[in-house]
């Protein structure tokens, strides 16, 4: 296993579980399950025990490994020099399990669906671009930007609304964008995170070929997960593109007043998506958009920025739902935290966060007090 030579270096001190200022436990899996085994330090020690033959692969072991949301809180807060490798270590262990075929059924089903259908919903590729009907978003020909939507944004009922809002707003802002529609396939970020490196490479190479063939140079992503894959994992495979998350494109547009906005008296709290925030250090662009909306009051949650608490959707959990259930699920905890700010809106910049948090609002019975809106939806609602 990759990184096998460093797993013994974990001191199980637990800094990885906390925010940087210790206001709360911040590892979503530990926060939900509360056994040390579900924390990053726990995983490190278990991986070592497994590699040494002291513990065997089991359902529990698989659950522990696949409960990691890859949110990178541990990478951010571990005090040791190997901290940057922590999530990679958990993914490497998952790769071993995938290679042995000993993985939770939900993971197996997800990977199979991607392999067979090109998306986890097992829906036809032909329907991938359907979300764009009745929007001004056009198919990609040779526009300046490819607008890459991703599986969740293309098929999930909630996320599709976000895709429409973002796509429409980008066009309204005068940006030259186009989508691949049915030619689009999965970016592979979750596939890689779940340890299926072979399938990831296949997807990446396919996407890179498609992008090259179509002359794509610049990509705007809806989903921070795709942003992460294109920015960090595609270049070593030959995919060098200029990659932006849509908030990074919108920020100068809004800040430069290229779109006119009306007074919008909303109290909003912003939830940093892990793959935009901690993984790629983009904390400012989404906030600058919100701050530029007249009348909007931005209130930060206690855990924000590099200390943001993951919605629990990353690392494949959006699909496998290992973290999803119960009052102590990360999404429900996050919604309660948002409620404490007094805000009426949770602003998101990720379709997976949108869905996770919206479901959590419903589970908490807070639909009349808290709305989940993506940044583009908020801006759209405030157009002059």
């Amino acid at each position: 296993m990759k990184y096998a030579d460093i797993v013994h270096r974990c001191f199980r001190c637990g800094y990885c579980k906390f925010t940087g200022d210790y206001t709360d436990f911040n590892c979503p899996a530990y926060r939900k399950f509360r056994f040390e085994t579900y924390s990053p330090g726990g995983r490190m020690w278990l991986i070592r025990g497994w590699l040494n033959g002291e513990i065997k692969n089991s359902e529990r072991f698989q659950e522990i490994l696949f409960s990691c949301a890859t949110c990178a809180n541990c990478v951010e807060h571990c005090v040791f020099t190997f901290s940057e490798d922590l999530v990679n270590i958990f993914i490497a262990a998952r790769e071993e399990l995938v290679a042995e075929g000993l993985i939770p059924p939900q993971v197996r089903d997800y990977l199979k669906a991607i392999h067979v259908n090109g998306n986890p919903y097992k829906l036809p590729a032909a329907e991938r671009g359907k979300w764009a009907a009745e929007t001004p978003v056009e198919p990609y020909r040779d526009q300046e930007y490819l607008f890459y939507v991703g599986c969740v944004g293309s098929y999930d009922e909630r996320a599709v609304k976000m895709a429409r809002a973002v796509g429409t707003l980008l066009v309204k802002a005068g940006l030259s964008i186009g989508i691949l529609g049915e030619k689009e396939t999965c970016d592979g970020n979750e596939v890689r995170a779940m340890g299926e490196s072979g399938l990831f490479e296949q997807l990446a190479e396919q996407n890179i070929r498609t992008f090259h063939d179509m002359g794509v140079k610049k990509i705007i992503t809806l989903d921070p997960h795709a942003y992460n894959a294109f920015k960090n994992d595609y270049p070593p495979l030959g995919g060098e593109f200029e990659v932006f998350h849509y908030t990074q494109i919108l920020a100068p547009v809004i800040g430069g007043r290229r779109i006119l906005l009306k007074e919008c008296p909303l109290t909003v709290t912003y939830h940093d998506p892990c793959y935009l925030g901690r993984h790629n250090k983009e904390y400012e662009a989404p906030r600058s958009i919100l701050k530029a909306i007249p009348g909007l009051e931005l209130i930060e949650m206690e855990r924000n920025g590099e200390n943001a608490f993951c919605c629990g959707g990353g690392g494949g959990n959006f699909f496998t739902d290992i973290l999803g259930k119960g009052e102590e699920s990360p999404a429900r905890l996050r919604v309660r935290e948002a409620l404490d700010t007094g805000a009426g809106v949770i602003a998101v910049a990720c379709p997976q966060c949108a869905k996770m948090l919206e479901d959590a609002v419903k589970s908490e019975g807070l639909e009349d007090r808290l709305k989940v809106m993506d940044i583009a939806e908020i801006v759209t609602g405030c157009l002059s």
Partner: protein
């Protein structure tokens, strides 16, 4: 055991009990050197009522129970030596009350150091507690239970001196309030003017009862904090320097360290002293007083205040000091254990020489570190060795070095702090037989079935 697990599941809920190999593996160990001992199961309760039921069950079934904070004592105190039920306390992490005027907080038995610190900084910025340098996940109750020390120890004693009450679950499952809280709604004292019953629990490592609530004394938190380091090449002078510093009553905390690397630290003894103040004038007055207290050593060239680079200052002022944990990876092996006897300050030179001798004999990476307790009433001297967890030979050499430390410490008149099971035996063997007898009587009365963290303080085995 399956029946027991099912009973526990009825108490805490299915999700919070496990007898799985994964939990057994992890909870059988701590980051120190003690060999693993597997628990039969692990539970994560949420309330004192759940703990009571767990203990009653354990008492009925004669199953050991081992309460656990974050497991960072490093001396195996949360490793279930006789199996049984490990009670992971960390779900009970609420801060129940902070009384600003009386300067105390009441927290649950699993509340972490970092959590209380963050809470106070946000809600009561004029108050602080005596935070140790163990990682922020360490729990307050466990630290008090082992007579830990922290940033305010030089001023106010052990962290266990800085409490104002306890709630404990006894081996029978009954719950008890200890201190003024036993008959008053106010937790202002851990004992006086009543007989101080905290002695029945503190220092016993859970062998007489489980702390479910703790009243923590809080102290003034000043707006500014700074650090100076006074260095000397002569270990024999350190006690005298510490005496002068403690005389000023201006210092917050005094830590002393000596280690071979990095190069800036080689060959010298570093007396790190912290001071706090609300104004620039207060800070400068304290700094001046502190510096002047060591004038004779400066004049004789026996010591001087080193320049502290900004990056080092920021590391030292961190609370808890994260660099302490990083010592574990010096050998790229995640391992760190220390024997930290409590001992008279005038033994510093002997201790400093001993660690050098042992580091050389056993070829180990080391740091000799001391924290002053009270006004030089005593010190904790930590013989700390770092090891590579993937190197069994290095681990064995570290064990041997630590054993020699234990022998030395007793001979030098020290008393083991958070002693391993072996050190506890050594201590009891050396102890006044009457004292040992008293401990035995207390243990027997408090835990007639021997279920409370067995293997610890077992007088009968001496």
């Amino acid at each position: 055991m399956t029946d027991i697990v099912q009973s526990l599941a009825r108490i805490v809920g299915d999700a919070y009990v496990s007898d799985r190999p994964e939990e057994a593996y992890f909870y059988a160990r701590d980051p120190g050197l003690m060999p693993p001992h597997k628990p039969d199961c692990v539970v994560v309760p949420k309330s004192v009522e759940e703990i009571q039921e767990i203990v009653r069950l354990a008492a009925r079934e004669k199953i050991p129970v081992v309460p656990m904070g974050a497991g960072l004592a490093l001396t195996g105190l949360v490793i279930p030596l006789r199996g049984g039920i490990v009670i992971d306390m960390k779900r009970m992490n609420r801060i129940l009350k902070v009384d600003e005027m009386a300067r105390h907080a009441i927290v649950e038995g699993g509340t972490s150091q970092g959590y209380l610190k963050a809470y106070l900084e946000k809600h009561h910025p004029r108050l602080r507690h005596s935070i140790p340098d163990s990682p922020a996940t360490a729990t307050i109750a466990a630290n008090v239970m082992i007579h830990g020390q922290g940033r305010l120890t030089q001023q106010y004693g052990f962290n266990s001196d800085m409490i104002c009450g306890l709630e404990v679950v006894l081996a029978s499952g009954e719950v008890c309030r200890i201190g003024s809280g036993a008959l008053s709604p106010d937790w202002f004292s851990k004992g006086p003017p009543l007989p101080d019953l905290t002695g029945l629990f503190l220092g016993w490592f859970g062998a007489t009862g489980i702390i479910t609530k703790i009243g923590v004394k809080l102290y003034p938190r000043k707006k500014m904090r700074d650090v100076e380091i006074f260095i000397t090449d002569r270990d024999s002078l350190v006690p005298g320097m510490v005496y002068e510093l403690t005389h000023t009553e201006m210092v917050e905390d005094i830590n002393i360290f000596a280690q071979p690397k990095p190069m800036i630290f080689k060959d010298n003894h570093h007396i790190t002293l912290f001071y706090t103040g609300d104004t620039e004038e207060e800070m400068e007055f304290k700094r001046k007083t502190i510096w002047h207290s060591l004038d004779r050593f400066i004049r004789s060239k026996d010591g001087g205040f080193m320049g502290v680079p900004p990056a080092m200052k920021s590391t030292l002022l961190d609370m808890p000091q994260r660099s302490v944990s990083r010592f574990a990876d010096v050998k790229k092996g995640g391992g760190f254990e220390y024997s930290g006897p409590i001992i008279m300050v005038d033994k510093y030179p002997a201790c400093a020489r001993k660690i050098l001798e042992l580091a050389e004999k056993y070829d180990l990476g080391y740091s000799g570190m001391a924290r002053i307790i009270g006004r030089s009433h005593a010190m904790m001297y930590g013989f700390a060795f770092t090891f590579n967890r993937a190197d069994p030979d290095m681990m064995e050499r570290t064990r041997q070095a630590l054993h020699e430390v234990s022998v030395f410490a007793l001979e030098a008149g020290g008393v083991f702090w958070k002693g391993t099971a072996d050190e506890q035996k050594m201590a009891m063997q050396k102890m006044d037989p009457a004292t040992r007898g008293l401990m035995g009587m207390i243990k027997k009365q408090m835990d007639p079935h021997g279920i409370m963290n067995p293997g610890n303080w077992e007088v009968t085995e001496v």
